[in-house]
């Protein structure tokens, strides 16, 4: 499943789920647990949504401070909010 989407933003974003990476991270964190196959994809979906929310929040922060570039502070403030939301 090579998932290479041509996006209108002149960037080719790979939509592939880095399965190996996710599995490795999970194993490193919780070696006693096991992750299912489709769980892999759902974790990737979760990461996508998290990153999406983070990006939206950072963008909002940057626009509010009228900066044309996203700064570290914007990301930091956004991360605080979104991490709190994603605690589950």
């Amino acid at each position: 499943m090579a998932l290479l989407t041509i996006v209108s933003q002149k960037k080719q974003i790979k939509r592939k789920a880095p399965g190996g990476f996710l599995k490795r991270v999970f194993k490193r964190q919780k070696p006693q647990l096991r992750l299912e196959k489709s769980g892999d994809l759902l974790v990737h979906l979760n990461c996508l949504l998290f990153v999406h929310r983070l990006a939206e929040e950072s963008r909002t922060n940057a626009c509010e401070s009228k900066c044309r570039v996203i700064n570290k502070e914007h990301v930091l403030a956004a991360a605080k909010v979104i991490l709190k939301k994603s605690r589950g």
């Binding site: 974003i13 990476f21 096991r34 992750l35 996508l48 949504l49 996203i70």
Partner: protein, 560 residues
Amino acid sequence: MADHNPDGDPTPRTLLRRVLDTADPRTPRRPRSARAGAQRALLERASSRRLSGQTKTIAKGRSRGARSIGRSAHVQARGHLEEQTPRTLLKNILLTAPESSILMPESVVKPVPAPQVVQPSRRESSRGSLELQLPELEPSTTLAPGLLAPGRRKQKLRLSMFQQGVDQGLPLSREPQGNADASSLTSSLNLTFATPLQPQSVQRPGLARRPPARRAVDVGAFLRDLRDTSLAPPNIVLEDTQPFSQPTVGSPVYHSLPCTPHTGAEDAEQAAGRRTQSSGPGLQNNSPGKPAQFLAGEAEEVDAFALGFLSTSSGVSGEDEVEPLPDGVEEAEKKMEEEGVSVSEMEATGAQGPSRAEEPKGHTQVTEAEGSQGTAEAEGPGASSGDEDASSKAASPESASSTPESLQARQHHQFPEPAPPPGAAVLSSEPAEPLLVRHPPRPRTTGPRPRQDPHKAGLSHYVKLFSFFAKMPMERKALEMVEKCLDKYFQHLCDDLEVFAAHAGRKTVKPEDLELLMRRQGLVTDQVSLHVLVERHLPLEYRQLLIPCAYSGNSVFPVQ
């Protein structure tokens, strides 16, 4: 109105006559589609009858007539505007136009249409003859068979043409007859050919000739590339004598991304002037283009710098090269910029002896690493501005004086390595670490590599997604911040999943746990189900794996 189809009359005159006899006065304001169609039809017909040249003239000048011929219905719909009608203009033209078959060259056609395009505005206001001359110069799309300006514009253009002809007494100015027409046009409408190209661009932005604003830079890059390519081979040959050059050469190549000297050269130029994160990668890209020696050392230094500030966030700081570097991210960035500047300087000089270049380079790097950035930094930006060679040369010897030998030795080791790999390696910022710590016999240190690189590679995937979702330019520090956030997020994720699985009495994390997690996060609500999210954000292949679907044979995949 009689529908007079051109019977293959070779002259526009006959056509005009026909038009005048039969055409009804029509307003220039017409739906462009009709006009276009009429013109096209006429054009096709004319061309079919070996009237290629006339087609254009007809199209542009006699669009009215053509339309009348082609689309009587449309023609009749039009009303007449002012006293000066196409009819009168045509009449004038007939009186004055010479009789001859005309094969208009393309070149003439284009300039001719140019003037017409501008006409519309003019025409609306008035039929000032002199005023129309200027618009006439503008390109008129009506002429081009493929281009059909709005009908209104065409009408106006044509009329303006006629007007011009009438005013200037030009005989069929719009009926170029081979080169003769062009010459006549040029003579009659002195300004016609001068400006048409310009206005043409207005009408057809695609065909516009952009001012070669960037040529200067490209030339410079090109020259630089030439220098680099010419310099690269000899350096490699020289470096072959070094015992450890080959392994280092090979390893960087594998790890480095394919950075061509071409891009490197360009990047060098750009990196010198810029101060953004792009400058970092640009600097690294520069190294490939530069002499291997310079680049090898520089690239490694750059890598060290890049790693330095990257590793500070990630916590990796075991490299020797990184040690001398201050952990300040800004410093690293500045150094990288300076590196790029000095690298570009080296590149520019090119001819400098490799050894000589190495030492100053290494020295500059070392001094920077040591922290004596005052002079180096000052020179770096100054050099980048343009006096790279002079200022950098002066700076490097000065800074070289106090370089510690260990760093020199390391740099000397690094210098012989080929340039491209270091730059490319730095790009990823992952192999950079091993590069810096590389000892002569071993191409790479395998210590931190396995742990950090794949992890960073995986994270970089999500970081790229972040920058893609953000749709705004971002700083490099912000991206590092995103990496940290992702790390924290993964920790939270694993903890939560563990809790959920334990709650369900399982040791395996199942999709139900994931769904519960997303529900608690607020992503999945009563209105938005998990399947909706899956459909929205995941590609089809993953969707098929996640969402059970019924297939033929009474089977469901995936099995529930």
